[in-house]
């Protein structure tokens, strides 16, 4: 049997899965941010007419999935797998979204790395000819995450400058065996990295080693230089994690400063509330599905490396004194005419 693997961690596709459509929906704060006009839909409230944050998040995710399906011109019956994940306990936003669709469902958890984990898995299913089309979606909701990971939303407290603001956003993409659009050429699944950071208010620093390791492995496996990419989009290292991640790569002789952007940094205008930048599964999902997918589709970018990074801790683990294990997965995407 011939394996489609290169180096230590990278899978390459003979038949490259196509990202046929993408949709991003966001909350009001994200809509007012620098990327506001790149999203398909901006909600005016964070409750979305629902009775709880959790229900609102699930609705948002459903909206992103519906939009992605409509943009691809597909019916539910055309899609063979639905892969989704979010930040809430037992990934309820995804499960409650999935009960609305007649599509086989795989729920995944990769914290903020969920989108690239899902796109990786979806590519394997399409590339391995197990599916015609796969829907991949992920979401996060600021208030729902806040009450689960930190404090009640109306509790008055000061956020440290290293803290990150969980985005109220959802993104969905449709991967297909054929069609027009950017194509996924390779996927690098990351290893969990833990450098002993115990502060959940500084996830950027915790995630940076995972990011650096995955980018380094991807470039090694593919025998490439950073210059071969027009953009390395990480999500969500934030301002601090981005600098640390770039510095860690520099130590290995890899300079990505010119081509690196972080979804958490570009989603919001800087403010003390937002702290080091955005975070959450929906952050990188919406930035990719909104801005980057379009730019790839239109050929403004020839090759993009999407590296979503996830902090795999829980409040319980942190209270028990555990450090934060982190993972990053890379998906290399080329524009249609490549």
């Amino acid at each position: 049997m011939q394996f489609h693997r290169r180096g230590t961690s990278t899978c390459v596709f003979e038949d490259m899965p196509v990202v046929v459509s993408a949709a991003a929906v966001v909350g009001p704060r994200e809509g007012k941010g620098p990327l506001g006009d790149t999203f398909d839909m901006v909600y005016s409230t964070t409750l979305l007419g629902e009775t709880s944050w959790e229900k609102a998040e699930s609705k948002m995710l459903r909206q992103a999935v519906d939009l992605a399906l409509a943009k691809a011109g597909l019916e539910e019956s055309d899609v063979d797998f639905l892969i989704a994940g979010d930040l809430l306990n037992q990934i309820i936003s995804s499960a409650y979204m999935a009960r609305e669709y007649d599509i086989p469902f795989l729920g995944i958890y990769g914290a903020c790395a969920t989108m690239s984990e899902g796109m990786g898995l979806g590519s394997f299913l399409v590339g391995g000819r197990f599916a015609r089309y796969v829907l991949v979606a992920s979401s996060s909701h600021h208030d729902a995450a806040e009450r689960q990971f930190r404090y009640p939303t109306e509790f008055g407290h000061q956020r440290p400058p290293t803290g990150q603001w969980t985005a109220t956003a959802a993104g969905a993409v449709v991967l297909g065996a054929q069609g027009k659009g950017p194509r996924i050429e390779s996927v690098t699944i990351g290893r969990v990295q833990d450098y002993g950071v115990t502060e959940p208010n500084d996830m950027g620093s915790a995630m940076a080693p995972g990011f650096a390791d995955t980018v380094w492995r991807h470039l090694q496996d593919m025998a490439r230089q950073p210059e071969d990419y027009d953009l390395i989009l990480s999500g969500d290292l934030g301002r601090i994690g981005s600098v640390v991640g770039r510095q860690l790569l520099r130590k290995k002789g890899i300079v990505i400063d010119e081509i690196h952007q972080d979804a958490g940094v570009i989603l919001y205008d800087p403010s003390p509330e937002v702290g080091a930048g955005g975070s959450g599964c929906g952050c990188v999902a919406s930035v990719f599905a909104g801005k980057v997918w379009k730019e790839l589709y239109e050929g403004q970018y020839k090759r993009v490396l999407l590296v979503a990074t996830g902090a795999l801790h829980s409040p319980t683990a942190c209270q028990q004194g555990e450090s934060i294990p982190c993972v990053a997965h890379a998906v290399s995407i080329v524009s249609g005419d490549h």
């Binding site: 109306e154 000061q158 290293t162 990295q193 002993g196 509330e273």
Partner: protein, 149 residues
């Protein structure tokens, strides 16, 4: 193995120091002093007003606290106190209005899970430890006062 060993962890922690922004301690202290001072001045105003109505001092203290707790709760319900807290930090958290905020905010947050398992169970999520250790400290200090002095 991808879990860094102690030496690597320490090296990383030292490496991080250059990148972590310092907390704006001086700014936070000054703002906390002003915000906390303002809240206490309002409290003093309330007390003076109540006293001017001829209410005895002991009862006026209790009434003032009640008024301030009510104000904190109201501002939490109106979605204002979290902003005062994020601006004023400890200055907003320490006065009794902050205590009201710490009880009312979880009560509001968990109302969706019902009045028993939501509001009832989670109301003291933030304030609980304060009550426990305040009671413990008060008891210990009282014992010391009673038997030592």
């Amino acid at each position: 193995m991808t879990k860094a060993n102690i030496r690597e962890q320490e090296a990383y922690s030292v490496f991080l120091e250059d990148f972590r922004p310092k907390r704006a301690t001086l700014r936070n202290i000054v703002v906390a002093f002003l915000v906390g001072g303002l809240i206490c001045t309002i409290g003093q105003g309330v007390l003076t007003f109540i006293l001017s109505k001829g209410i005895p001092l002991k009862q006026a203290y209790v009434l003032t606290s009640s008024v301030m707790v009510f104000a904190g709760a109201l501002l939490t319900g109106l979605g204002v106190y979290d902003r005062i807290g994020s601006f004023g930090g400890m200055g907003a958290a320490l006065p009794i209005t902050g205590f009201a905020n710490s009880v009312v905010s979880p009560a509001m947050e968990y109302k969706r899970e019902g009045f028993v398992l939501g509001v009832g169970a989670k109301m003291f999520q933030v304030a609980g430890p304060v009550i426990v250790y305040a009671t413990l400290t008060a008891t210990i200090v009282s014992i010391i006062k009673l038997y030592v002095f």
